[in-house]
Subunit: 345 residues, 2 copies
């Protein structure tokens, strides 16, 4: 390892205590550690962009979940985009852009096999690998098309419609010929839904009267509901399901705490009477289709048919509060933390 690197410090954001509900700044601590040299078959990566996801709430929870909890004292699990600094793996060379679960830290040493992929095409900004060409876009594409099965002319409702997943869902539904109705919180996000993401209608749930607005907006019912929030927003949409509707359960952003499980209106009769389907989606089950989805998404971006927005925080010290901020609705677009310049190797 170059002497200059050995002198550098690897700041790590570690999980200090386990939150009940949404992780807040106080649940993390930033610790200075030395940069470690890569072993045989490993690469040393300088992280440039760290990802911030709603799903991180689950990753730090000890509740039953779809992933192992981050251990207490461990580096916060996170996707990141960075550049290879030093490689002892034949597939990677210094300067390569890569993405993987490199964690919330300046530097990561990982096995070559743990690199999710090398970002070969840099004509689209590399940060997109964490959003529209990463989990968010892949989720939108696969969950909407596989579970939602939108058909031209149908009405597709999306919650957190201006968010990293939602904005992508709305645009793909539009590409598929659907009428799109976005639900978002606040005037600015509603404006984004209309102006940037092409929703036919955007509703500000914070302005109240969501029931009446949905009734007016969806006179023939909701054929597909892409649900990123759960809770009262979903309750309102579920009342409007059309016969044969599909509900994609992709996230539960509106529910801060699942222990104990909060109560809501029972869905059994709605599902029965409407012969509707409600199905959960976790992107990690679909790794074998990432390439297919990413190719389609990149093509749409290049054609100007798919737009995305990023909300970039500067500096690793922003990380501890960044998840809580997502749940407060602070961000406009995919939330990232930039911790180095593009040329930082």
């Amino acid at each position: 390892m170059a002497a200059a690197l050995r002198d550098r410090c690897n700041r790590q954001v570690r999980l200090k205590s386990r939150p009940a509900g949404i992780p807040q700044a106080e649940h993390f601590e930033i610790v200075d550690t030395p940069v470690v040299a890569p072993g045989e078959g490993q690469v040393l990566i300088r992280n440039v962009f760290l990802s911030v996801e709603p799903a991180m709430r689950g990753w730090v929870s000890s509740e039953a979940n779809y992933s192992e909890p981050v251990p207490l004292g461990g580096v916060m699990r996170s996707f990141a985009v960075g550049r290879v600094v030093e490689s002892r793996h034949p597939d990677f060379a210094p300067g390569d852009w890569v993405i993987g679960l490199f964690g919330w830290q300046d530097y990561a040493v990982v096995d070559g096999a743990a690199v999710q992929r090398r970002i070969a095409d840099t004509t689209i900004p590399v940060s997109s690998a964490l959003g529209v060409l990463g989990l968010n876009g892949l989720t939108a594409y696969l969950a909407l098309l596989d579970i939602g099965q939108p058909k031209a002319g149908e009405t597709v409702v999306v919650s957190t419609a201006a968010g990293a997943v939602g904005s992508c869902v709305g645009q793909i539904a539009k590409i598929k010929g659907c009428r799109t109705v976005g639900i978002a919180g606040g005037a600015e996000k509603v404006r984004l839904c209309r102006d940037a993401f092409g929703y036919d209608v955007a509703i500000d749930y914070r302005a109240g009267d969501l029931d009446a607005k949905l009734a007016e907006t969806c006179p023939n019912g909701v054929d597909v509901y892409f649900d990123n929030t759960g809770g009262e927003i979903s309750d309102a949409v579920l009342k409007r399901l059309a016969v044969g509707a599909r509900v994609v359960v992709c996230g539960t952003a509106s529910i801060a705490n699942w222990n104990p499980v909060p109560l809501g209106p029972r869905v059994e009769r709605t599902l029965l009477v409407k012969r509707a389907r409600m199905q959960g989606f976790v992107i990690f089950d679909h790794a074998d289709r990432y390439d297919e989805a990413r190719t389609a998404l990149a093509e749409w971006i290049k054609q100007g048919r798919l737009r995305y927005r990023e909300d970039i925080l500067d500096g690793i010290e922003q990380a501890p509060d960044a998840i809580a901020g997502l749940y407060r609705g602070d961000n406009l677009g995919k939330r990232l933390i930039r911790i180095a310049g593009d040329d930082a190797v």
Copy 2:
């Protein structure tokens, strides 16, 4: 029309008032009317067996539903099996056994096209056309196989497991190589589940501790849940879903009143974390597949692999209280009302 018939009385069970929730005896009245002669293209039918279904709760409700409400003062809608007395339609002759929506009454005059089918094969008792070879069996077959998609070795849980639909579901799941767990109310039904319907395990939910019993019985989780009850029984089963589980929402027998919609534990997170699917099923959407399903069911009955049980009330005066009795759990098997002998034409 033969003079003898003209002298007979057609007792009709009519909807007197609209129930909030489960229809009780007081919501019906029995009215004596004359027997009407069939017009051109019509048949006069002497009903022998009247059906009693949980779904009738919905048929008399003015709430949004999957069928038009029975009008106040109208004859209660019902499937019935009867014999043709007089035919002015070329497809039917006196003595033919037929099934259709003939209503809760002694005699029905209907258009030939309104006869659902002629029961040609009487090697299986004709009453089965209202149960295991009727809506109940067809529902069990199509809903389980299409939505539940049971695979050999999987665990299938059924609520109202000894009921007309549930008992059939359990046996079909067993034929498909699954492990079956039935939930029923009371020792007698639990015994039926084990002895008559071949469930691997039967649980009496009235004996308490359903959570613990399900945990013990389904150590690897529930792959398919065929839900005829909704409510607290379903809440308990949903806690045990395996990854990729399918929940068939077929009935909501445990919930007496849906106005206002009762509260229950929110299902969003369970569906998400377990990538599970919950889907409503209404048999009337699948009329094009009745023949296929009925052929398979009849074959299994003849092979002795599919058993069914009937709960036969005698006399039309039993009808008004018969639906309420279903919801009280009074019946063991498919509930029917016999209002004439087999030879009554």
